[in-house]
Symmetry: C2
Subunit: 405 residues, 2 copies
Amino acid sequence: MSSIDKTNGGVAFPLGFRASGVEAHVKYPERKDFALIVADGPATCAGVFTTNAIAAAPVRLDRERVKGGVLRAVAINTGFANACTGAQGEADAAEMARIVASELSVPAEQVAVCSTGVIGVTLPMDRIAVGARLAAAALSREGSADAACAIMTTDTVPKMAAYVLTLPDGRTIRFGAMSKGAGMIEPYMATMLGFVTTDAVVSAADLDEAVREAASVSFNRIVIDNDRSTNDTLMLLASGASGVAIDRSSPVWLDFKEAVKTICLDLAKQMVMDGEGVSKFVTLSVTGAADDAEAERAARSIARSMLVKTSWYGRDPNWGRVIAAAGYSGARVEEPKVRISYGDVVAFDHGRVVADAASLEAMKKIMSERAFTVSVDLGLGSGSCTIYTSDLTHQYVTINADYTT
Amino acid sequence: MSSIDKTNGGVAFPLGFRASGVEAHVKYPERKDFALIVADGPATCAGVFTTNAIAAAPVRLDRERVKGGVLRAVAINTGFANACTGAQGEADAAEMARIVASELSVPAEQVAVCSTGVIGVTLPMDRIAVGARLAAAALSREGSADAACAIMTTDTVPKMAAYVLTLPDGRTIRFGAMSKGAGMIEPYMATMLGFVTTDAVVSAADLDEAVREAASVSFNRIVIDNDRSTNDTLMLLASGASGVAIDRSSPVWLDFKEAVKTICLDLAKQMVMDGEGVSKFVTLSVTGAADDAEAERAARSIARSMLVKTSWYGRDPNWGRVIAAAGYSGARVEEPKVRISYGDVVAFDHGRVVADAASLEAMKKIMSERAFTVSVDLGLGSGSCTIYTSDLTHQYVTINADYTT
């Protein structure tokens, strides 16, 4: 029986990785805005990227490079997204990788690059070059936190995690991760960058299976607003430095995948908690749907509803908005079979309003917490889906009305 | 050549109709909250209703009654939506119609009822009875404004319109209308009630064609938030009192339908302008899509994007959010072919950012107006769609976080 244990650290926690985050003044002075994750040798890799038809130049570059199955380094800048920047943007992304490769003395085609920030502005390549030089010089086994800070945009806290997977025979595999993203956070990979490292020995093809499955139940299960960005990226790199080899046929393959899911879900929840203007973290559970796909449809519809999200902000157990959002989701919903609860208090049960004054008070109290659960049982079948989501607040509007092109 | 001219008035402007709006204290004191539209004789009718799987009791009742093709009266209460109220709700809706029919001495099955307000609370039938009595006594040819006021919920202004269609032979047909709705306003008929009257002689089957076509280019082309309500209703009633008979084979049939579209679009725009917390009325025009359906998909995606809507609020020509929302819409979008303009100022053209400091200033000036146009040319084909939409403001959050169950 394997065990998965949380510990302290980030992307450089697994053996064989170093990281750094430095002030390159890409857009703003006095903040870290350039990060590096570097493997001591060739690391196997896999990644999932935005589904937006408008994909940023670095995303287009990385999609190709990840297909190669081997990376030595990932460089990330904030400030500008290098999206909608045409041929110049493509050239800049490739040049950014080349500069980093040169600083690290590794092959350019084994360097991935990520950019996040404002769309439509070309990268200031002189600052990128400064960032690459400083970040290469700052690389260390202790650089995880600096790297996590350097990739923040409107994030208010750095997001990182570290886990140890202990196999039944006592051998251990380390996992580290960091991510950023607070707005444009919708399922399907929204302006988020996520990086997971491990020191297991795993093929790129097997990593691909692990990262896709992990994304589908973590980053693709969170909703803050309803936008999907042009730059979303989740990469999984394996250094092999632990010497523990795993593949699809290993008895512990499921445990390995579970560890990747665990660390991704940890980061995904951190992202919702730090979402733009978020004051409530809501675990939205839809059960009893005709099938899982219908449960997901209903859950996403509820999680995206501005009326539902503002009611959460207002601590108002307005289950009517919840059932209305399920009703227009396209999923099968029959009013006489629906049950809606806030925490463990039932508001609506099989076509009847069951909330009285006491339970209304109880629900309001539950909704006063920073985190609570909303459960919707459609009473039709065994389909289920859990989404991690947030409220819609004045602060969200303030942040996004002021964020400037 | 027919002409369509705007004039003053509302639902009782066409001959053969009377209206009223009274204080029944359904939920709140000191506001009109019960309205009647009454035809002097049997009026032909047609209607379109919410597509939400959770439909309110009055909607389920009206769907059946409209199939009969003849109505004498429509009664509307605000305060409570009579949605998610189970068997009691169904009985109450039928009873509300029966009470009104009794006051008017007309057949109960020729009375439609509409409710709007909070979901999940049964109607206070004693107040409904008071409303029916007072409203029946107050009916008059001058009651349009009172009726329009009585159906408001979070609306800040009553919404009504009147038009005269003058046929080539000089005969005239009158059209009157009123509507309500400010939140839950999304395509597909969101908490909106709309009523259009005319004094033409038209069959119910022909009215059905007219009302469906009109809804598709008016009420179904507006987006405030992304919710669809359980109570949406648009009804078209024809008294026949003008004596002007029209049917599908008439040379002026298209003119008749155009007049219905015109009055519906007039109301739809009034609703966006008065949307919850709306500070900007945005005409969003998507052209050059592969086909009309793709244009609509891209337009709805942009109009629903919280990031786009907050940028409009902030007077920020953040075209990057616009193209990103088009990109994840599912419509075909190719970055090197896209052109985005604010008013007549181009921000992004065929893969290039063309906004300089002067044009940025010009765009901000345009966005400081109460109403402006955002145009997105996808450069792929001849598909187009226009959506009337709004920004997302602090006030929207305030209204919906405070509106209580």
